[in-house]
């Protein structure tokens, strides 16, 4: 074993002071920004000290606090637990039993990269709420600790399995040696060109809206200082603006588009720079990031199901986004980092082949979705804007060219709803359920039946009239729905999937 002295409480690398200091500073940044904005232009003085002096004093205070936090942050091993103690004013003690540890991940933000230290995050099955992380360790130390923790975890698992089943001990002994056995060569690596393609084919609309939301949030936060000075000017020009909105609208749309594309490019570069995806015997590993470098380890047992999607731009260059849905809190799943952007069909099949070699062992049985899906979709998407437009014409002012516009919109809605309905496919075999949906944004889900947690059958009054029902399938990584199946088939599927869950001896995690 390595030379980790974990029986006694240990501190992290001394550089941890800097890491803690900067993370404290970042938390305080928003507050400082507000103070600076409030006092923009006025002379800021408290106790006859100016803004600059206060900044120095507060920084010094933060430095002292950070140093104290560093001193109070210790970690050690006690019995079968990994213990972290922290907190200056209120002491906190986090106990992590080895058996609960799912994976140990490393990450580096820009400060940690400059200082050459690594942050260690311990991922548990989600039952322990607190975030368990050690902000700064030397690279070597982090590696050793990570390996040690994983070793202990597997040793424990092995002991349990030896008691239960003698044959399986061989297997787990193998995995105990290398903690998570990972192939040396990545299955997927994104070059700069791939990165550019991924960035260009993002859902720009979404990144644009996201950026807009952030900027908007900031603008309203400082509304008084940013907009007040220009109020009179704004009011004056507002009327002339209104008159010119027909000219301004295309410009605004174009501007929004350009900014959106830039935002997606920047976002892609930040999160997926030097993206590497490794596949191994009992898990996957991903590493990427420009400013902050993250490594994720996903043991196979934690993976609940796969979801891969595309969009019209990506389909052109044959790229998919593969999302690996793993058990745990929603927050973990929402992070983009657990998704693999820009995977080609061939690599995708390769991954599926490794993870689910038996997925085609049995024939799939297809289910036909009821046309109520098309009708409801068309009504929801079509009726509301149409009624709004007609009401506008009727009550406010008649705009003649709105009529053909409404007509075109309705035709488009009908067309897309119909394509969506046609593209919706549900297939089931004894081991898997496969759901395909979406025509513009095709999404495919592959869920092993034994990974399901529970099932709901839903039927609204509208569905009842047409003898149609929807299923809601819940896994430890979130729920997915199957809409508008004929009632008897839905019930049949419900019973069948329950049978699959209840008769399966496989562990969902």
């Amino acid at each position: 074993m390595n030379n980790l002295e974990l029986s006694k409480p240990q501190r992290q690398s001394i550089l941890g002071v800097a890491v803690i200091f900067f993370s404290n500073l970042r938390k305080a940044f928003n507050f400082f920004l507000a103070v600076v904005f409030v006092n923009l232009g006025t002379k800021f003085r408290i106790l006859s000290l100016g803004l600059e002096e206060w900044a120095y004093i507060l920084s010094a205070v933060f430095l002292v606090i950070s140093y104290l936090q560093f001193l109070k942050f210790t970690f050690y091993i006690k019995g079968d637990n990994f213990v972290i103690e922290k907190g200056v004013l209120s002491q906190e003690k986090i106990n992590v039993p080895f058996a609960r540890i799912q994976t140990v991940n490393t990450h580096q933000n820009i400060i940690q990269r400059i200082l050459g230290v690594v942050g260690l995050k311990i991922d548990t099955a989600g039952s322990i709420q607190n975030e368990i992380q050690i902000p700064a360790l030397s690279k070597k130390h982090a590696q050793q600790l990570r390996e040690y923790l994983m070793e202990r975890k597997y040793e424990l698992k092995e002991e349990g399995e030896v008691l239960a089943e003698e044959e399986s001990s061989q297997e787990s002994a193998d995995s105990a040696l290398g903690s998570l056995k990972i192939d040396a060569k990545p299955i997927l690596e994104l070059s700069i060109k791939d990165l550019l393609l991924v960035g260009l084919t993002q859902n720009h609309f979404r990144s644009g809206l996201f950026l807009f939301a952030i900027v908007n949030g900031y603008v309203w936060q400082f509304e008084d200082f940013l907009l007040k000075p220009f109020e009179s000017y704004l009011e004056e020009t507002a009327e002339s603006f209104l008159a010119q909105w027909i000219i301004l609208l295309p410009v605004a749309v174009l501007l929004f588009l350009i900014i959106s594309v830039l935002a997606s490019l920047a976002g892609t570069a930040l999160t997926h720079f030097q993206f590497k995806f490794f596949l191994g015997q009992d898990g996957m590993r991903m590493s990427s990031g420009l400013l902050s470098k993250n490594t994720f380890n996903v043991p196979f047992g934690k993976i609940q199901y796969f979801k891969w999607e595309s969009n019209p731009l990506r389909a052109l260059i044959g790229f998919y986004t593969l999302r690996i849905k793993q058990a745990g809190t929603e927050a973990i799943n929402d992070r983009k980092l657990i998704s693999i952007p820009g995977i080609k069909a061939k690599s995708l099949i390769n991954v599926l082949e490794r993870q689910y070699p038996d997925r085609k062992k049995f024939a799939y049985q297809s289910f036909q979705v009821n046309s109520l899906l098309f009708i409801q979709l068309a009504i929801w998407l079509g009726a509301v804007p149409t009624l709004a437009a007609l009401a506008l014409n009727f009550f406010v002012a008649e705009i003649i060219w709105l009529y053909p516009l409404v007509f075109i919109y309705l035709a488009l809605v009908l067309f897309f709803s119909y394509r969506y309905f046609l593209a919706y496919k549900v297939k089931v075999n004894p081991d898997f359920i496969l759901i395909k949906r979406g025509w513009v944004f095709p999404t495919t889900l592959l869920i092993p039946n034994y990974k399901l947690q529970n099932i709901s059958l839903k039927q609204s009054v509208f569905q009842k009239r047409r003898a149609v029902a929807s299923l809601q399938l819940y896994t430890a990584a979130g729920g997915e729905s199957v809409s508008h199946l004929p009632f008897h088939e839905a019930l049949e599927l419900y019973n069948y999937l329950l049978y699959c869950i209840e008769s399966s001896k496989l562990k969902w995690m």
């Binding site: 058990a327 929603e330 049995f362 024939a363 049985q365 289910f367 089931v428 075999n429 004894p430 399901l452 947690q453 529970n454 099932i455 709901s456 059958l457 839903k458 039927q459 609204s460 009054v461 009842k464 809601q472 819940y474 896994t475 430890a476 979130g478 729920g479 088939e489 019930l491 049949e492 599927l493 419900y494 019973n495 069948y496 329950l498 049978y499 869950i501 209840e502 969902w508 995690m509």
Partner: protein
């Protein structure tokens, strides 16, 4: 015949039909009605205060509340008929919803833990509920409502015993 061509025959799969469900205790219906009427009484109290001190026309609150009382009296018995639970060897199910029907089944080998619960009104009517948690998240949890205290405790112990057998 939906699942031809696979290793088990569809007829061998245990079926769960909406008719198999046990209905809940009738007291649960009375409890629901009273809890809603209590709420409406509270609301009319606030309305009466406004009428007394702010000279609000009493019809503005009285008629909507009377309408709501009528709705409660018509809707709740109909909705009660839909509710029910079903305990089988390997799972537990609950169904509810008059306008938006929903039936959920949780297999015992997926249960994380379960909880017994009795509210304030529940003590008066001898009504308790059992909530079952899985790893499927908050929206997927199942509560069996409208049981007597005795049977709720029995059900909880039964589920705890069966689900821990799968650990």
């Amino acid at each position: 015949m939906i699942f031809e061509n696979i290793k088990i025959d569809i007829d061998d799969i245990p079926r769960l039909e909406p008719e198999d469900f046990e209905s809940l205790r009738e007291d649960y219906l009375y409890m629901r009605i009273s809890s809603r009427i209590l709420f409406l009484l509270f609301a009319s109290g606030i309305g009466a205060l406004f009428s007394l001190f702010a000279k609000l026309y009493f019809g503005y609150w009285l008629f909507p509340i009377l309408g709501a009382v009528l709705m409660v009296i018509i809707y709740e018995p109909l909705a009660f008929k839909v509710k029910g639970y079903l305990l089988r060897e390997h799972d537990i199910s609950y169904k509810t919803g008059l306008l938006f029907f929903r039936q959920t089944t949780v297999p015992f080998n997926r249960i994380q833990h379960c909880e017994y619960n009795q509210g304030l009104l529940g003590r008066l009517f001898d009504i308790a509920s059992v909530k079952v948690f899985t790893a499927g998240g908050n929206t997927s949890d199942l509560s069996v409502r409208g049981l007597s205290k005795e049977s709720a405790i029995k059900l909880r112990d039964h589920i705890t015993k069966l689900s821990s057998a799968h650990e």
